[in-house]
Symmetry: C2
Subunit: 227 residues, 2 copies
Amino acid sequence: MRVHVAFTPREAERVPTAVVVDVLRATSTIAQALDAGYRRVLCCAEIEDALALRERLGEGVLAGERLTVAVPGFDLGNSPREFLEPRGETLILSTTNGTRAIVAAAANADTVLVGSLLNLAAVAAAARERGGDVEIVCAGVEGRFTLDDAYCAGRIAGLVGGERSDAAEAAVRLAGSFASPLEGLRASENPFHEQLGEDLEWCARESVLAVVPRLAGRNGAAAEIVA
Amino acid sequence: MRVHVAFTPREAERVPTAVVVDVLRATSTIAQALDAGYRRVLCCAEIEDALALRERLGEGVLAGERLTVAVPGFDLGNSPREFLEPRGETLILSTTNGTRAIVAAAANADTVLVGSLLNLAAVAAAARERGGDVEIVCAGVEGRFTLDDAYCAGRIAGLVGGERSDAAEAAVRLAGSFASPLEGLRASENPFHEQLGEDLEWCARESVLAVVPRLAGRNGAAAEIVA
């Protein structure tokens, strides 16, 4: 078994199992929401798609952000701390980078899992147990490399085991250069991180959720994620 | 001043100064050849371009490789140890990844320098002295991340100084995780590395050349590199 890391979504290769990471904050939020009791999360790349989907379904809690700012008319933002109690069965989530990475990964992998530090041990075990090659796909920011996602990818790659690609080895070594997850997430120069407040510490907690979100299929323009 | 690293050529951004790295072996060979006394290196992406260029110029030592194998009809391969004495004024070099990265970088930067471990201190000083933002562009292999180029990029980024992008910070940390340059170059899983023999140790030597190869312009389909 081989483990590989795509530092940006466009580097993603054809693999049996992909693990998508947008640790600040989309994939942390998805894990938190499904763990809390939402039955499914419908991920939309565009705000318009999210609005149209709720119209079509006649249900759904609308959540998301653009550049860390909540979307006008939406019920919730993209802070995982807003998803500790479900407000319905269906969450419709639109975020800047994470959703797009999930949709992109779905085109290249048979199984798409959703990874974060919150479900670190669980998602790594699930990826390993599938037996085939694993690729961890970092969402990045606007297609660019980010330290926070690369850190999280390195932690997952280290736990998945198997033979490492050059990028996986680099991610594992990078993760090992930080004294703590919080240091790893804080190292990014992303200017929006200053606006994340306590979410940064929240998302830096390791293996506190056992949930393994996975892509169930498409629902119109959305990717449907279930536990 | 900011320093950035593009782990693959297609991540390259618009910057004043780019430093292209294909440490095994094209950029090491270019530095070695110019230091030895070749007046210019004409880099061609395609073998056919190299052959046509010598035909047109009526001169030039033809050198290069495809997948580490010498090209039939060429005078020399792509081992830097073949370039310790000049066999003429003009070297026409075609290599798998390095040449393509130089040609690609030229589209995005005002100044393109050629970096390796052999000229580590010299190329970092030259990039820093230009004063503007610096991007170190890794050639990679077939557009993919490779540990050897990322290691070399991290060493250069650390010496250039300035404010680091996320990718530059990652490269510096990655480089710091290896005990020696040779360990950094050997860590790559590139199967062709086994065929490099003593070139690997040769290219792992640090700051033994003072030459700073730079792109002078285009010459037909070739990029003309001078000292």
